[in-house]
Amino acid sequence: MRLQYPTDIRIIQVPCTGKVDIIHLLTAFEEGADGVFVAGCLEGDCHFLEGNLHAKKRVQRVKEILDKVGLGVGRLEMYNLSAGMGPRFAEIAREMDQRIRELGPSPIRKAKASLPKAETEMRV
């Protein structure tokens, strides 16, 4: 379909959203991601039966953590769509891109940018 979507999204493949761990989501924010979205199968259609339902709970948990540390809940979202829903994927990508642009750069990224370079590299 080759539907166009914003270029600032990078996809990380996992076998199932059931494999998306809290630690992965937090690492992404810690490293400086402005936003993260988890794209899982439609509820009830998980190839592994209920992986997406577990992911949903974890996303919710991480949202709470993000809120507590001051990043807010809006930078993380879970979406459910099937492999046959290309147009929906492009729409979500645009939606998320728009939302993150409104929220601006992540405070963590801004903080990291203001650190002396040597120190930044040490953290990576």
Binding site: M1, R2, L3, Q4, Y5, T7, D8, R10, I11, I12, Q13, V14, P15, C16, G18, K19, V20, D21, I22, I23, H24, T27, A28, E31, G32, A33, D45, H47, F48, L49, E50, G51, H54, R58, A90, V124
Partner: protein, 1022 residues
Amino acid sequence: MAPTKDRQTIGGGNGTVGAVMVVGAGIAGVQAALDLANSGFFVYLVERSPAIGGVMAQLDKTFPTNDCSMCILSPKLVECGRHLNIQLLTLAEVQEIHGEVGDFTITVQEYPRYIDMEKCIACGLCAEKCPRSVNDEFNQALNKRKASFVKYPQAVPLKYVIDRDHCIYFKPDKKTGKIGRCRACEKFCPAGAVDFSQEGKTHHVKVGSVILAPGFKTFDPSRAATYHYRQLPNVVTSLEFERILSASGPFEGHLVRPGDRAEPKKIAWLQCVGSRDVKYHSYCSSVCCMYAIKEAVIAKEHAPYDLDCAIFYMDMRTYGKDFERYYLRAQEQGVRFVRSRIHSIDLGQDGDLLLRYMDEDAGLHQETFNMVVLSVGMEVPGDVKSMAATLGLELNPHDFAATHPLTPVATSRPGIFVCGAMAGPKDIPESVMQASAAAAGSGSLLSEARWTRTRTKEVPEPRDVSGEPPRVGVFVCDCGINIASVVSVPEVVEYAKTLPHVVYVQENLFSCSQDTQVQMLKVFEEHQINRVVVAACTPLTHEALFQETMRDSGLNKYLFEMANIRNQDSWVHTQEKEEATDKAKDLVRMAVARATLLKPLVEVPLTINQRALVLGGGVAGMNAALNLADQGFETILVEKEKELGGLARRVHHTIEGLDVQAYLDDLIARVRAHHNIQILTQALLVSFIGYKGNFVTEVLVGPGMYERKIEHGVTVVATGAQEYRPTEFLYGQHPGVLTQLDLGRVMHESPEKAAAWQRVFFVQCVGSRNAENPNCSRICCQGAVKHALELKMLNPEMEVVILYRDMRTYGFLEDYYLEARNQGVLFSRFDPEQSPRVMQDKEGLVLEFQDHVLQLPVRLPADAVVLSAATVAGEHEELASLMKIPRTSEGFFIEAHAKLRPVDFSSEGIFLCGSAHSPKLISESISQALAAAGRAGAFLADTTQTISGITACVEPERCAACLICVRVCPFKVPQINQENVSEINRALCQGCGICASECPAKTIQVSHYEDDQLTAKIKALF
């Protein structure tokens, strides 16, 4: 190439030869060859042209999924090219055949290529230096190629060929009469591969059976003066238009017209060119409606401006699975559909074309288009006719192979099967289906000789890389221009060289081509690469290919990572070249970061239970069971009703006049008598667990409802469909309103009653093509024609009227439509907005409808009104949820891929056939059943399969036996063992990773997706 050895060189028992010849290497031939070679037979694949791939390789996109045709075909071609048990014979023709089923000897003439295939490195210098330009047939003569050429960039085998008819060397000198001039290619070939002394070779090949898949050619419209084809340059055929759209075509995918390379603003498609025309071919070519819609939709997508696309047609025949939805979508996207007859095409101004046509009101209209596409039909090429004569085969009146509806892939000569377009015009999925069916037919004939002619490969000992530091090789693909036109590939290559652990980087034009694969193999060895990163299309289609190459060089296939820089980059950011290049660099950096942490994984051999389970005892289920049993597999046939037979029990005759009940009785007797088949009737599936090769199904078997546990290796789903029970048109309220199945019963049980009718109406599309059920039910048009002809036979005076929306008598069914009109059956079209009305008055039934010619309402009494009720899915919710197999919104099961895996489910080891897939005719159900049985049998026969290395593993030291994994696993795999720690059975683990993510001690890791491997990717991003 790894060394090979013959497992056994003599034939099987009783002289049956365990080898098959497949003639024709388009998609049908390729599929048949792969199915057979994977299930224990040696295959000779004979192709007339210099490369395999057929017409599918020429197509731009395929309907109804709009997949890139070459992208989905190419992996299959490569698999064929590299398969140990397929021998390609290109530039070859069958000349003679002797012997009989089980033991044929076939003479094949192989024509000289004048290029040594062993030496050619496909560098293309010969073509570059060749001074002779000729029309490129692959691009439909829209551009030029050289006399030394390769058929297309991804050709298999990727070897050049010298075209003797045009090469200067072979043209005698005018003065001396001698040949041998030019020789530029020979001089410049760096490999010394050009060999003008090559002569043809004659092969005498022994095989047990033959599958014919020679394909079709398109109708030549210059035979019909109306179209001015070849005189008006902007009148093109649909196949030419495919090449125009194709990125690898003559205009690199720019939508321009051939006459002046101007961008067309208005394009017209004319349907039925050479088809449904008694002057040329009276049959319908079955595929043109769909491909015209597809071309119109794709053209609109291609054009960076508002393109006007209009399709001029007689009946829109979108009868296949989900085709009607595609048609509706095209209308939403603004494609115009004009029901009309073409009067003439004339040259307008500036190369434009003036189209005159008559619409339904018989009004003559005219409209100017920039370009006209002729939707040319399919016909049998002359050389196929002569081959059929050589092989002693009967042809039907249209020159296609004569087949019997109940044995749809068998020719008139035992042991010779046919599939694809030679057995009648058809689309890709049906060709693939028939190919698998023909392979199943061969497989059951030759089952005793399985594995007697095959060769096995000695895979090199896997290299132990555990002690080595990571040495990453990065291969960045241009994908022709798919990637390179957006992403700056050289920039990505330079960037990759700077990444840690990267020791080698190269750019490939087509990474998936066979010669690149061979070259990559050398690179792995030369540079001692132990991690491979390919930045290219998508792992979905190509990961397995690259992993196979790694295996050939002794590298564990899990040491591979792909950066998706086409589907997730160049294709979706076409206008943002710089950003796309940056993204490609990021993706490569992330892939390299993960690759350095990847570990080799061992794949455990899969044990495969050799028993098959078939669900559904209708025509499809019984045929599948019978074929599996004939292939030598114990088969259990489960039917929920008391009796076998399914929906066909209510059908009396096929349109060809065959007695369905007699066929069914014979089929049931054969199934009952087969020593390999066990039948369970009144059986209800209550549980389905396990995985490919090792399923356990529980059924309750009536009438006592005792429980039966079945262990089996494969499952075939053939649970059928049902006739819609209309709620409209007074159905169930007036005895004169019948469905087609009801009518069949009346004509069978009391023909005298039917014979007394004076006037009968058929109403088409009842319960189909509406808001609730948007799809077409495919079989009702031919059903109405069949019954109309039967009624006319009972009483020639009877007035029979068929009220229809589009008559969809595709393929040879068109003959019967024509016959019905000749017999005086009346056809009247209606629009869904002006649907006919059935009423009841004192006299009886009355039908009111709008006559589309008179444009006036007509009201007539009727003795019977026959509703062509839809074929709707069976009640399969529970079955689908037990088996975890997907269904469409209408309830039909969804196959793994609409085009190339039409009888597989995406869950391996489960197969699909019959009307549970979508509505279809008995003959089509039989084809599909054979195909499913063929695929299932091939799965059972391939005992070399392994289970994935991607599973969850517990590190017992840190396990606190908290039971979280036990609770969260949807497959109930983890168990607390005697050491009081969690244990996960690798054979049962599905590798989803839910347990790993939930484990509070983080002591479960999913191999290949370990936490540090994923985190490395995330960290590499920033």
